[in-house]
Symmetry: C2
């Protein structure tokens, strides 16, 4: 199960009943948070999830609405007795920014480890999750993130029987191990079919449309994209502030051939995003205007 929850859907400032945009992903014991603005810890508590198991936090950029909740989140993680290290990923300078904020959260019971992004894109493997950070186009350095998990091929029991592979070796071969038993070497390719489609989620906010987005979002099961403004008439404002309108997000979703798109990071002046949904749906029908706490358990396409 690959569980995602969009904890908030607001841009710029938290509002009563609309938290700032951030995403929580839970898979196989990994808890990954993307962005942590003011109030994210409250949104997480409303969802009923604990902050203690968060072991990786990815930052898109350093505008306050994406990071100002970090000191409070750290303290609450500390109060919940976390002692395992936490990895922080973000644009170059993330260590300096986080350490500046730690002036109000100075004594944490866990270590922090940093990965600073620099190039146009970077692959990070975190436990079983592949994370692709890719540069997008905002008024400061900003990254989008694509999170994916692999799925091994199907196990061919008939082949295993024909090759007389002892039963006790089967599960190890399924896990990709090479085994030597009674002088015979068994390798996974003897019994495993080609890798099957895994799961992929792509998240990008605070950006104009840019070439990296459809490249890295390609074939995502879920594409979470900023939609700062609903109406096409806001295009000039979107360009000025380096954000997007709904129809631009939809065009990216279509180009990336994703399964489904959730819009988020609404302007505080956008009271009812649903009213403008048709502007996106006429381009990419499977668009949803996300609400705070919207979540999904993503499952493999084929059984």
């Amino acid at each position: 199960m690959f569980e995602v929850c969009l904890l908030g859907t607001g841009g710029m400032m938290p509002l009563p009943y609309r938290w700032l945009t951030s995403l929580m992903v839970r898979y196989n014991g990994s808890n990954i948070l993307i962005d942590c603005g003011e109030g994210t810890q409250v949104a997480l508590k409303e969802k009923g999830w604990s902050p203690k198991p968060i072991d990786l936090i990815l930052f898109t950029h350093f505008h306050a609405d994406h990071i100002s909740g970090l000191p409070g989140m750290f303290l609450t993680m500390g109060n919940s007795e976390r002692t395992e290290p936490v990895t922080i990923v973000g644009p170059k300078g993330v260590r300096e920014v986080v350490e500046s904020l730690l002036i109000i959260a100075p004594k944490l019971p866990f270590e922090l480890e940093y990965i600073e992004l620099d190039g146009d894109s970077q692959r990070i493997d975190f436990k079983d999750v592949h994370i692709d950070a890719f540069k997008v186009s905002h008024n400061v350095t900003c990254y989008g993130y694509s999170l994916s998990i692999d799925r091994a091929g199907r196990f061919d029991a008939e082949a295993a029987k024909k090759l007389n592979i002892p039963l006790k070796c089967w599960s190890k071969l399924q896990k990709g191990e090479v085994i030597e038993e009674d002088g015979v070497t068994y390798t996974p390719d003897m019994v495993m079919g080609p890798p099957r489609k895994g799961i992929k989620v792509t998240y990008t906010t605070d950006t104009r449309p840019c070439k990296n987005i459809p490249i890295f979002a390609k074939n995502s099961d879920l594409f979470i994209c900023e939609g700062m403004y609903g109406e096409d008439e806001s295009l000039d404002k979107a360009k000025e502030h380096r954000h997007m309108i709904f129809s631009e997000a939809a065009t990216l979703a279509k180009e990336a051939e994703v399964q489904e798109m959730w819009l988020t990071h609404y302007s505080p002046s956008l009271f009812k995003p649903k009213e403008f949904l048709d502007n996106a749906r006429k381009i990419f029908p499977k668009t949803y205007a996300a609400k705070d706490g919207m979540s999904a358990d993503l499952v493999y396409e084929e059984s």
Copy 2:
């Protein structure tokens, strides 16, 4: 009108439906905020007040639950087009702390001015409001604040007539001005009675009971005091974390002979503060367990 609103009543961490403790005071065009934890800007918005006119922010201390909302508040003040300077008051080091946090709110359209507190107490006059900062007893340097306004004596119209003071001078004398008119000097003491009782509000959180509290809270119309734990059995825990139980706050209120006390800064584990109210009321009957957004318009006692 001296308007006070306790924007939140929580300690340690913001919770769904309980913001972190902070107080907003509005008087004669001055907007004064005491503490600004994560979410204070949302609490202010829920109250329906704008952050733009905040011109003075007082910090009790630098634990994150009292200051982590500052970068977001500043950005929202900037977005509301504030350009006038903002004065920041807090324990020694407040400039360094605030400037560290500004790494995520770097380009504000207003200047910041700092007043760093150092001694056991300090008087600050801000427009028409007298502010007494007084050191309390927490595990880091922490101050309480007493805010008061003066009220001039009654204008004696009979005396003014007897002294043949021209009518056009009356309002100036009421404002405390000395006037020379046709070679005659008129001074306020000729027509003004002795100063009358003004209004006084005292606010203290994150402290054990200590001698400064009843001294500076003396005769307050409203005393807002921390009550981290409700039951007397939590005394040891309160001592350990340098906080108070309800009955200790009540003992201070009684000693300071205040008009009314509001309890605040509840532990996240204190779900229903009202259930423990009797522990305070048996000592100081006019105790209230404050809720988020609780407010009062304080008026002069005598007409």
